[in-house]
Symmetry: C2
Subunit: 355 residues, 2 copies
DNA sequence: CAAAGTGTGATTGACGTATATCATTTCTAG
DNA sequence: CTAGAAATGATATACGTCAATCACACTTTG
């Protein structure tokens, strides 16, 4: 009925507690034969180590690190603040989660940061990753030290990480396309696309998904060649104003990347009833405000808080050596002005709006 | 640096460990003065009981119950199956979660079920609730026994429960309206609405939200008087066929309740390019399939798995006497054919499709 | 004044695991 | 065959808490 203990396993395997302990904790110095006996007994009895007791005994505290890009990025600020708000709660579960800033999006910064956190005693690291083989060396070093690595928001090369927590950006792009398409009610139109850069994988994925659906299902919609904005609000604003101004028949705008402040500024100047249909990514103080005031129509949000929570539970499971809890895929949340959260999160965000 | 133990507290308060223990575990027989000293020391040191150690010592297992309506309802099947899939994982945290069937949606069934689970040794109960004061007596009895009660999916009277886990149905209705409105691309139209019954609070809420937005923001859209379907697919089908058939200029359909199979059947017979824009609730095998094949356009999903996870962590926090982890409001997920999950969940659902 | 009750201290054995020490047995090489 | 290494057993302590017990001093009460 009740859960078997390690003593039960040892007894059933016909070895001493000490030997069983040597097996499950990989201390070595145990004969092949004994190892097998213990393993068999474990599966036979369905032994599962009592993690709570183990942690109590070894006074473990889970040391987790989140490597997040530095710089004035509201999205990662949101992650940081959620992490911070969680810290009290995590402490009660013996978890300490530290946010570590990584300079720039370039590979070099991430590489050196990964090297720097070796030998720091971390048990798990969530990394906003890049697809670069240069990361192989520092990550493998960490893994050798028993550190568990997962990708967060943006993936690492698959073979370097144990899991990826983030949305499917292709699907996000497809969804944006679907809703933009639908918004035309069967009429024809022209869509203007803004993106941060072609190098960012998430942007490229979204764009691919967008194209896929528009071309397949909305043949009466034309798509302009995407404009690169470097996620700079000023660039975004200028581009939008230019595109809309020359009355080129733009019926929809899709900003794949950041810099929404520029988009919003530009849209706020137009007649609400006749401006193009606007889709942006990530619910932030500015996008939230813009939705409320009808300057844009749709925000596709990753739900960074949910991602962080998921990352935490996956990391903990990895460290404990058990399988992560079954959970549905992360699906981006679609916000319109009518389902905005009334959260503390939002309240927090309001404080810092207009910056 | 490290967390203070109860011994530290006792020492700092100048009482014995036994007395401190009597205070925190409310065993009585402690002088007022001593109690205060202990309390003060606790806050001074920032003592937090080590729940893991406590549970280990008392061999506690968390006994949780989920009261879900009986009957062939795919939505609650999804909750049940998620709960079932979670059970292994929960067992490792000493949590046992049992789904208990409640007969019918009527108050009587719920009332008797609530009475029946008293004295069963449950620590927490998640209830798919009803707004009825009749529930007061049985719930208060449970609360007296130290059982924690939360509302799930559908709320209980506020004063009877410690928390509510579910979406804001008014917001869901507003969102549906927004997207239906947008789908007309500025053209005029007529919306046909189907609902299960006016008595179901969630349906009423969604309807209210829907009206609110359509009337405010889409004056060129007419809304038919809602048709009651009792969530019966056959009724739904008949109603839809009739509404669409008489070429009454229906441009959109919104099914607030269940019985989507009927809606889908009816739509499948129409020309995909010219059928009305269709919005339904809850991602199920049938709605998922219908999205993929273009029979309907939008599904607003509560994310029952997420709700269950949230319910579990809130219940555990309540039982442990600590505040629930900060988390964003639950926002319904909007599915189109382009962001359908590729989950085990979905695979599971496919098996049982067409029934 | 004895009996009964109250407030407190002191101590102890679980709970299931980790970790360490030391003694013993078994294997392997020379 | 034997020294030394490798494998194993036996045992103890600690982790922080719960739950129980015994002992004592000090009221209250009949």
């Amino acid at each position: 009925m009740k859960n078997p203990t390690l003593s039960d396993v040892a007894q059933s395997a016909g070895v001493s507690y000490a030997t069983a302990d040597r097996v499950i904790n990989k201390r070595g110095n145990v004969a092949e034969k004994s190892t097998r006996k213990v393993r068999d007994a474990m599966v036979a009895l369905g032994y599962v180590r009592n993690v709570a007791a183990a942690n109590l005994s070894r006074k473990r505290i889970y040391r987790l690190a989140f490597l997040l890009p530095n710089g004035p990025n509201a999205f990662y600020d949101r992650i940081r603040s959620h992490l911070h708000g969680l810290s009290d709660h995590l402490a009660k579960d013996q978890i300490s989660a530290t946010a570590i800033g990584v300079d720039a999006f370039a590979v070099g910064g991430l590489k050196s940061c990964l090297s720097a956190i070796a030998d720091q005693g971390f048990d798990g690291v969530a990394v906003v990753g890049l697809q670069s083989t240069e990361l192989e060396a520092p990550i493998e070093r960490l893994v050798e030290q028993g550190v568990h690595i997962i990708g967060l928001v943006s993936d690492l090369p698959k073979h370097l990480r144990s899991a990826y927590i983030g949305i499917d950006n292709v699907a996000a792009g497809r969804t944006a396309a679907r809703l933009v398409g639908v918004s035309h009610g069967g009429q024809s139109g022209r869509i203007h696309i803004l993106a941060g850069s072609t190098e960012a994988h998430d942007h490229a994925d979204r764009l691919a998904g967008f194209y896929e659906v528009i071309h397949r299902d909305f043949p009466n919609l034309a798509v302009n060649v995407p404009v690169m904005t470097c996620d700079d609000p000023n660039v975004v604003k200028a581009e939008v104003e230019q595109a809309v101004d020359k009355s080129s028949g733009i019926t929809a705008l899709y900003n794949i990347g950041a810099g929404n402040a520029g988009l919003i500024d530009a849209m706020a100047q137009l007649d609400q009833a006749h401006r193009p249909f606007c889709v942006a990514h990530e619910l932030m103080p500015d996008t939230c405000h813009a939705l409320q005031h009808g300057h844009i129509d749709l925000v596709i949000d990753q739900g960074p808080d949910v991602e962080v929570n998921r990352a935490l539970s996956v990391l903990k499971a990895l460290i404990d050596g058990r399988s992560p809890p079954p959970a549905p895929d992360l699906v981006p949340t679609i916000y319109v002005r009518d389902n905005l959260p009334t959260d503390p999160t939002l309240a927090m965000m309001k404080d810092t709006s207009h910056d």
